[in-house]
């Protein structure tokens, strides 16, 4: 696989955007090490689908891809290249012919790549062999619209823009066709279990409030985005109103005065002053980011050691998964 990458050459050509869809963003693994400037992480909302998109293209795991939320992205390839789309089941066509997600395939210069809208799930990842070639800001290409940082112009992808990519030399094509076994493909649903570590100000929530929090289902409200998911359900009360503003980690569950939990995700503010009851583990944050308004979540308390075990179990499963050569 690495052979293909070494033969690749940087080319100003890539994919011409003919329809930008609802929200399409340039993303790599995220921006780390810039918290001191107030910059958040960004990066793929669903890190698992992102991982597979790059893996199927033989890419480095932090290579730059396009994250498509809801759907509607249409591109015209300006070069021959290998692409893969993973994530929510959006109808994918090349020149009008249906294509399968979770596998890499060749597109030729002039081909039209179209994504429809997902009926379940929210986000898809389109990767190209060698990655999209975007200039990094603060060490990352990840787009955070709220900060006007990353991507082509610090904003979502717009019509008529060109997303440059590496050109794969002839001869490198065939061996690049890979597929994730169906048994390993994530299943997208309208309900997600959120494993949560009790943390931060958890001592300011009484035993009863905690029990209510973990016993009840919550629905995704109309306020859901890459910054955070505001939920609706049984209100939870802390015995404090606010705290001295402090650093917010990925997955932190903030409880504002109205008692409705907010799970903070990739584009969250770095510092905030609302009490937090805990934090959802990263693999479940990825699942949460595939939900939309009206979908349902349930929180389940786990210990830090259980969270650690789950992280490493997921990681070793990923590493042991063999892609199918087509």
């Amino acid at each position: 696989m690495s052979k293909v990458l070494t033969k690749a050459a940087i080319n100003p050509l890539g994919f011409l955007v003919t329809n930008a869809g609802v929200l399409s963003l340039v993303q790599d693994a995220g921006r780390f090490g810039a918290f001191n400037l107030g910059l958040t992480n960004g990066g793929p909302a669903d890190s698992l689908a992102f991982y597979w998109a790059n893996s199927l293209c033989g890419n480095a795991l932090n290579a730059t891809v396009i994250e498509i939320s809801l759907g509607g992205l249409q591109l015209i390839a300006q070069v021959d290249c290998i692409i893969a789309v993973t994530g929510a089941p959006m109808p994918l066509t090349v020149n009008g012919r249906a294509k399968t997600l979770w596998q890499s395939f060749l597109v030729k210069a002039g081909d039209s790549v179209c994504l429809g809208f997902a009926s379940v799930g929210v986000r898809c990842y389109l990767a190209v062999a060698g990655g999209f070639v975007i200039k990094a800001s603060f060490g990352s290409t990840a787009t955070v619209c709220r900060e006007s940082v990353g991507g082509l112009k610090g904003a979502k992808i717009a019509v008529n823009e060109v997303l440059p990519c590496h050109v794969v030399s002839r001869g490198g094509y065939l061996r690049k066709h890979l597929m994730l076994p169906e048994s390993r493909q994530p299943h997208y649903a309208n309900e997600v279990l959120l494993h949560t570590v009790l943390s931060y100000q958890q001592q300011h929530f009484s035993a009863i409030e905690k029990r209510l929090f973990f016993a009840n289902d919550y629905q995704v409200s109309k306020h859901w985005d890459r910054m955070g998911y505001r939920l609706q359900g049984r209100a939870i009360k802390a015995d404090i109103n606010g705290i001295l503003s402090e650093g917010i980690c990925y997955g932190a569950v903030q409880i504002p005065a109205d008692g409705q939990p907010i799970v903070l995700l990739n584009d969250r503010q770095t510092i905030g002053g609302y009490p937090k009851i805990g934090a959802v583990i990263s693999s479940d944050c990825a699942k949460l980011s595939q939900l939309r308004q009206g979908d349902s979540v349930h929180f389940e308390a786990i210990s830090m050691s259980q969270a650690d075990n789950l992280f490493h179990l997921n990681l070793s499963r990923l590493k042991q998964t063999q892609l199918i050569h087509l």
């Binding site: 780390f32 001191n36 107030g38 570590v197 943390s199 510092i271």
Partner: protein, 238 residues
């Protein structure tokens, strides 16, 4: 978990721990330059000694969020290492930060909440401006948005709670007050702080060196400028 009499360690998330700093055995956290200096000292120690396993740090008023690499270290080991490293860390007698002067155009035109603050404080607008200018502030934290520096503390008399409904657009450069904190908005954004003036200095510019004029620990004084000087220095009025 207790590290020493003034530092406690708590879980934040799957790959994050949070250190809390206080004055002696206090349960509630308070804003204090002394504590904030200790935060800075601890931050430097962590960056120096644990950078191999740390993804990033968020220092704030009285805490440091420590985000670590789960592949390289687990929370047990990191706890032990932090404990060992910070045991000796105590109320620092570090040197004073740099003094940075920020020009501010205080006026009814540029400070749409001046009158409200004056009424709330039972003071004149001129007195509100004088009190805001009279204080030397400390940069306690940077975050929330790129280049947003939390400055404290504002004179108690002009402390003002956030707006109940945040504005959709606060102009770039707005100098504002929330409770006993003050800040300059680095870019136009939504916000609930009370606006008292405009500052023409760029607070966040990726093309400039340094990117931000302020760093945590710096001292800040606001210097009143008039409309013409504000415009001459590149300030904008909508």
């Amino acid at each position: 978990m207790k590290i020493n009499d003034t530092i406690h360690l708590n879980v934040a998330g799957e790959n994050a721990l949070i250190l809390y700093f206080s004055l002696r055995e206090q349960s509630s956290l308070v804003v204090s330059a002394e504590i904030n200096r200790t935060v800075q000292q601890a931050e430097q120690l962590i960056r120096q000694h644990l950078s191999a396993v740390i993804v990033d740090l968020i220092p704030s008023y009285a805490s440091i969020l420590v985000v670590f690499d789960l592949v390289k270290i687990d929370h047990h080991h990191l706890r032990n290492q932090l404990q060992e490293l910070l045991k000796q860390c105590n109320l620092a007698n570090s040197k004073l930060g740099r003094l940075i002067e920020l020009p501010c155009y205080y006026s009814l035109e540029s400070g749409m909440d001046l009158v409200r603050i004056a009424k709330h404080a039972k003071l004149s607008v001129e007195q509100v401006i004088a009190l805001h200018q009279g204080q030397e502030y400390r940069v306690y934290a940077i975050g929330f948005a790129p280049g947003f520096a939390y400055l404290g503390e504002v004179d108690e008399r002009i402390a003002m709670p956030r707006l109940t409904t945040p504005r959709l657009k606060v102009p770039k450069g707005a100098v504002a007050i929330a409770d006993r904190q003050t800040a300059v908005y680095p870019a136009q954004s939504p916000g609930g702080w009370n606006i008292i003036g405009l500052c023409p200095v760029e607070m966040f510019n990726p093309q400039a060196k340094p990117i931000m004029p302020l760093a945590v620990g710096d001292r800040v004084k606001f210097i009143a400028i008039d409309r013409q000087l504000y415009l001459n220095q590149g300030g904008k009025l909508s």
